[in-house]
Every structure is written in structure tokens, then in C-alpha cells.
């Protein structure tokens, strides 16, 4: 039980339409979050296309935990802790590689890429009774893959990945449906963008439809972008609570109203004829047109995977006031003309120098400084409470600029924090 449980209580800090500022600044809250969210629930780790070949591996993370994602010779994916079971040295140093075994640089202990301890130097120094079987690399006990997205959970039991994703799994279906081959290729590498802000500032901002016209007005005004209008007072787009802390800005109502294939991506079919032909061949012309109208999802999967149409962000907390956003471009396996455009648009928009994300990041850091001020103590999330409604699937929705997603995130957050106390 943390000091928060004992002295304050989560119900006092998290109300339906406001939350207490200390949730972003209190190190005890952060420590409790690691145990109850990051080391318990399903967290996105990587994509199968990052380890395409047998014996490929990449160094990943679950919050501050260093994780190796490996593919063994049989093709199975493993999530191993990057910590030698002897004296705790980091086993893998390179960001990626191909090896059937990992050898610790400190004393040469050698592990298979499935985590099994294969042996160590000068074995006469051990009496032969030590159990090699018990000295394999630590592992993330539960690994599940949906549509190529690899998630890990440090909890031995609990909801399955599909139970955790619930209706939000459709976001991954919609994302993959736009790839004519039915597969994504996330091998363009990740930018790592560091901010001095609490991780929840980022999660809340991803599906905040209220900020774009303010935070991003500089780029909208010089780059003829239609994004701003999607998040205006007149927009028919919806903000949605998908359950389990997953949230969405559903822009499809606007795209359907505008009825322009690939309008969601700011382009037209004649600019990417190869992609359009592939999508039509795979789906038929009618379905392909629907896909090109509806576009790619804008969904935040709690707690760390943000699908932002043509980009994927992974949120990694490192301290109560320090967070890294990893971001890469969505690439459809086998669609070079579309991929080239998605990559170049992504490079322009995101990361430390991005036209959009540099300004979001400035807001995160300003928020973090502001929330230390003593009064009024609370962060207000009331926007649109009077016009919330249920959609045909029973999900709470609001207007494009409403704070339905933020309330949904905190509702789920509170349930996780209370469950762990």
C-alpha cells in the first residue's frame, strides 16, 4: 500500500470531471503506477516486423524496464529482461541484431534467445548442482500478439489481451485493413523524443480534440492543412470512450461527409496509383473506396500505444516528470508509393523537430511546470459533460472537442489503481 492509499485515497484524487494535480507530480503516485499499470496490464512492446528473420532481436522497454524482443529459430517471439541472471549486467547492448544466443560481456554467461542459460566460463568454479534451468533470463510472463502487435504483461494472470483491448481491437483491424498486403512493416526505425513531463500528459493529449486549433495553428496557417477543421465547433467528428481506458477521435463522420478518397491523408488517388490499384485488387473497388474514405484510426490504446493515422507512438515513462515518446511511420508491406509519402509526412510532422509534435511537447512541459502551482489544485475535465451520449455500440461519445476521452482515461486509471491497493 502506498502513501496515497493510506493517507489520501484515489477516490479523493480522481473525480468524474476533475483530477488532482498531484497525480502528475507525486513520486509515490508514479511508483504505484509502475506496479499497478506498467507491471500489470497489457503494454505494447513492439511489432513482429521489427524482428523479421529467425534469431533477430531488438532492445525494447516496458516503462523503465529494459526488454529484449527476440524471435527464436522456430519463429516464436519472446520478451526477455535485459539483465544477466549472474550479476545483473545488461546482456544486449546493441539496439538490434541477429544471434541465436546472447553472451553477457561481464563474465561470459551465455543465454539462448529463448532465455535458457546455455553455460558459463570456467564451470569447475561451480559445484554442478546449481540449477541452470532456474538461471535463465527473466521473462515477461505473458506475451500475446494481435495483428502483428506484440504486447506483454508482467502479471502471471489477468485479462487476456483481447479482453484488455475489447472493442478497441477494431482500431488495429482498421489500421491493417489499409495495407493491401494485409501486413504492416514497422522497420523504418523509431525517433526518441524526450520531454520533462508526466506520461499521463501525453496519453491525455493524444485524443484531445480541443487543442489542435490552438497548439497547431502555426503549421495549419502556413501549410494549408485541413486538420484544424476536423476539430472545430462545426465538426461532425466524435470523441469516444472505447472502454478500458482506450479512447478515440473518430474522424470518419467528417471524412464520409467530405467523401473524398484518401482525403484523410491529404492526397488523391491519382497521386498514389500503385497503392490504389493494390487496395482495389485486394478488396474490390467498392470496399477499397470505403477504406479510402474512412481512413486510418486515431486511437489511444491505454496505456502506451497511440495510433495516429500514419504514425505509431509508444509512450515510455522514465520518472514522474520524464517521458520518452517513440515514434515511427506506418508502412504498408509492399506499397512503396504510399509508404514513401507516409514516411516523409511523418518525418515532417513528428519527433523533436516535427511541425506538430515539437509544439505538443512544449505543451506537455508547460503543463508539468504549471501543475506544481498550489492553487486551484485541480485539473478540470468538464468539457461536454452535458452532451455526452451513447453510440450504437453503447460507447460514450461526445463532440469532437469534448473531454470524453480524458474522463475515460481517468476512470480506467482509477479502477486499476484502486484494484492494486
Amino acid at each position: 500500500m502506498s502513501t496515497v492509499d493510506a493517507t489520501i485515497g484515489w477516490d479523493r484524487l480522481i473525480e468524474h470531471d476533475r483530477v488532482h494535480g498531484s497525480l502528475y507530480t507525486d513520486p509515490a503516485v508514479y511508483e504505484a503506477e509502475l506496479e499497478r499499470i506498467w507491471y500489470r496490464t497489457w503494454v505494447f512492446v513492439g511489432h513482429v516486423s521489427e524482428v523479421p528473420e529467425p534469431n533477430d532481436y531488438v532492445v525494447k522497454s516496458i516503462g523503465p524496464q529494459p526488454v529484449i524482443m527476440s524471435r527464436d529459430k522456430q519463429g516464436e517471439i519472446h520478451l526477455l529482461l535485459n539483465r544477466c541472471t549472474h550479476r545483473a549486467n545488461l546482456v544486449c547492448d546493441a539496439a538490434r541484431g541477429n544471434s541465436s544466443a546472447f553472451r553477457c560481456p561481464y563474465h561470459g554467461w551465455t543465454f539462448s534467445n529463448t532465455g535458457r542459460l546455455l553455460g558459463y566460463p570456467f564451470n569447475s568454479g561451480y559445484d554442478g548442482r546449481e540449477a541452470k534451468r532456474e538461471l535463465g533470463l527473466g521473462r515477461v510472463p505473458r506475451v500475446e500478439i494481435y495483428r502483428g502487435f506484440v504486447f506483454g504483461s508482467f502479471a502471471d494472470d489477468g485479462p487476456t489481451l483481447l479482453e484488455h483491448l475489447g472493442d478497441a481491437r477494431e482500431a488495429l483491424d482498421r489500421l491493417v485493413a489499409l495495407s493491401p498486403s494485409g501486413e504492416l512493416d514497422l522497420s523504418a526505425g523509431w525517433l526518441q523524443h524526450k520531454v520533462k513531463a508526466n506520461w499521463k500528459m501525453l496519453v491525455e493529449n493524444e485524443t484531445d480534440g480541443y487543442h489542435p486549433q490552438f497548439v497547431h495553428s502555426s503549421i495549419f496557417s502556413v501549410a494549408k492543412s485541413g486538420i484544424g477543421d476536423l476539430y472545430g465547433e462545426e465538426s461532425t467528428a466524435l470523441s469516444r470512450d472505447l472502454g478500458n481506458g482506450h479512447t478515440e477521435n473518430d474522424l470518419r463522420p467528417e471524412f464520409r461527409r467530405i467523401d473524398q478518397p484518401l482525403g484523410w491523408f491529404g492526397t488523391t488517388p491519382d497521386r498514389v496509383p500503385g497503392y490504389v490499384a493494390q487496395l482495389e485488387a485486394a478488396n474490390g473497388a467498392e470496399k477499397a473506396r470505403e477504406l479510402m474514405i474512412d481512413g486510418s484510426p486515431h486511437v489511444m490504446l491505454f496505456p502506451n500505444l497511440f495510433i495516429a493515422e500514419i504514425q505509431l507512438f509508444v509512450i515510455q515513462p522514465l520518472a514522474v516528470d520524464e517521458t520518452v515518446q517513440h515514434v515511427t511511420a506506418v508502412q504498408y508491406k509492399g506499397s512503396p508509393d504510399m509508404n514513401r509519402r507516409m514516411l516523409q509526412q511523418t518525418i515532417g510532422s513528428v519527433g523533436p523537430a516535427g511541425f506538430l509534435l515539437a509544439d505538443d511537447s512544449e505543451m506537455y512541459e508547460r503543463n508539468q511546470r504549471g501543475v506544481h502551482a498550489r492553487s486551484p489544485e485541480w485539473v478540470v475535465l468538464k468539457r461536454g459533460t452535458h452532451r455526452e451520449r451513447l453510440d450504437e455500440n453503447g460507447h460514450v461519445v461526445g463532440d469532437a472537442t469534448d473531454e470524453v476521452p480524458q474522463r475515460a482515461i481517468w476512470k480506467h486509471y482509477r479502477s486499476l489503481m484502486e484494484a492494486g491497493s
Partner: protein, 163 residues
């Protein structure tokens, strides 16, 4: 790479150009900086190493000339929050070396250290720039600038001032 025969006038011209660019960047003279670029220019800040393929992999910046113009226009709106107010920066550019001269363009290398002060605190940026400079009737123009940050394979803070 072996040394070129020493052409002092050329070297001084190159040095003055590199120093002028640094001053225009530090003083947020966005128009002055943009005027240094050739019409077909490329401005590249790679990520995850210096030898990646920017047409297939993520970069921190990979601007063609039109995107350089957009970058400058965004800064000039005054609402580019990551640079409103602008960072106070001062940079030291050193080890300026003329690496090659093919008669059309000069290949120039230089190291830099930038001190950036914002509300967050003081951030140090260091790395190496490689330029392709094109002599014209109006002096040198940048046809290409590649900025290799020493920490481009790690998590870095927002980089919205001109690097």
C-alpha cells in the same frame, strides 16, 4: 581523405560562410538563414546513426527546399510554441575543413556545440555538420547540409530552433 592544396582565400570564404550561418541561426534571423539555401537544397538531420537511408528510415529532419520554407514560415508566425519565445542559443563552430572541391561544389565539414537555454534549463547539442556549398555570383549557397548529432541514437529533447 587527404588534404587539398591549401587555398587560403577559399578556406576563409568557407569559414566566413559557416560562421555567418551560425550567427543567423543564433539570432533567429529566419529570412537571412533561408536566403543561404540553394533552390534545390536538402537539409538533413538523421536519427539512429549517421549512415541511414532517409528515403526508407526515420530522420529528425529531412527537408527539401519547400519544406525548409515551411519550417521558416512556421517559425515566423510567432505561434510556433516550441520557439515562442525563441530559445536563447549560442553555438561554437570549429574544425572547419575544406574536404573536396569538384569545381561545382565545395564539400565542407565542421564540428559544433550549441548551448540552448529555455524554461526547461540549459541543453547542450553537439555534432558535426557536412555542407555542400555552391559558389555563385552572389557568393556561396548551401545545396546540402547534414547535421550529425552525437546523440541521434538516443532520446533527445525538442529541437525546434535552427540547428
Amino acid at each position: 581523405m587527404s588534404a587539398l592544396p591549401l587555398n587560403l582565400d577559399r578556406l576563409l570564404e568557407v569559414q566566413q560562410f559557416v560562421y555567418r550561418e551560425a550567427r543567423l541561426q543564433d539570432e533567429h534571423d529566419y529570412d537571412g538563414w533561408e536566403a543561404l539555401w540553394a533552390d534545390d537544397a536538402t537539409y538533413w538531420v538523421p536519427a539512429n546513426g549517421d549512415a541511414i537511408d532517409p528515403t526508407r528510415e526515420m530522420s529528425i529532419i529531412f527537408d527539401n527546399r519547400s519544406r525548409i520554407a515551411t519550417r521558416v514560415k512556421q517559425l515566423k508566425t510567432g505561434k510556433r510554441h516550441a520557439q515562442a519565445p525563441p530559445s536563447r542559443t549560442r553555438r561554437v563552430v570549429s574544425n572547419v575543413e575544406l574536404l573536396a572541391d569538384d569545381g561545382e561544389e565545395l564539400l565542407v565539414g565542421a564540428n559544433f556545440a550549441v548551448y540552448e537555454s529555455r524554461e526547461r534549463g540549459l541543453t547542450v547539442w553537439a555534432g558535426r555538420s557536412t555542407y555542400r556549398l555552391r559558389p555563385t555570383g552572389d557568393g556561396l549557397l548551401m545545396a546540402y547540409k547534414k547535421v550529425e548529432l552525437v546523440d541521434n541514437d538516443r532520446a533527445i529533447y525538442t529541437l525546434a530552433f535552427l540547428i
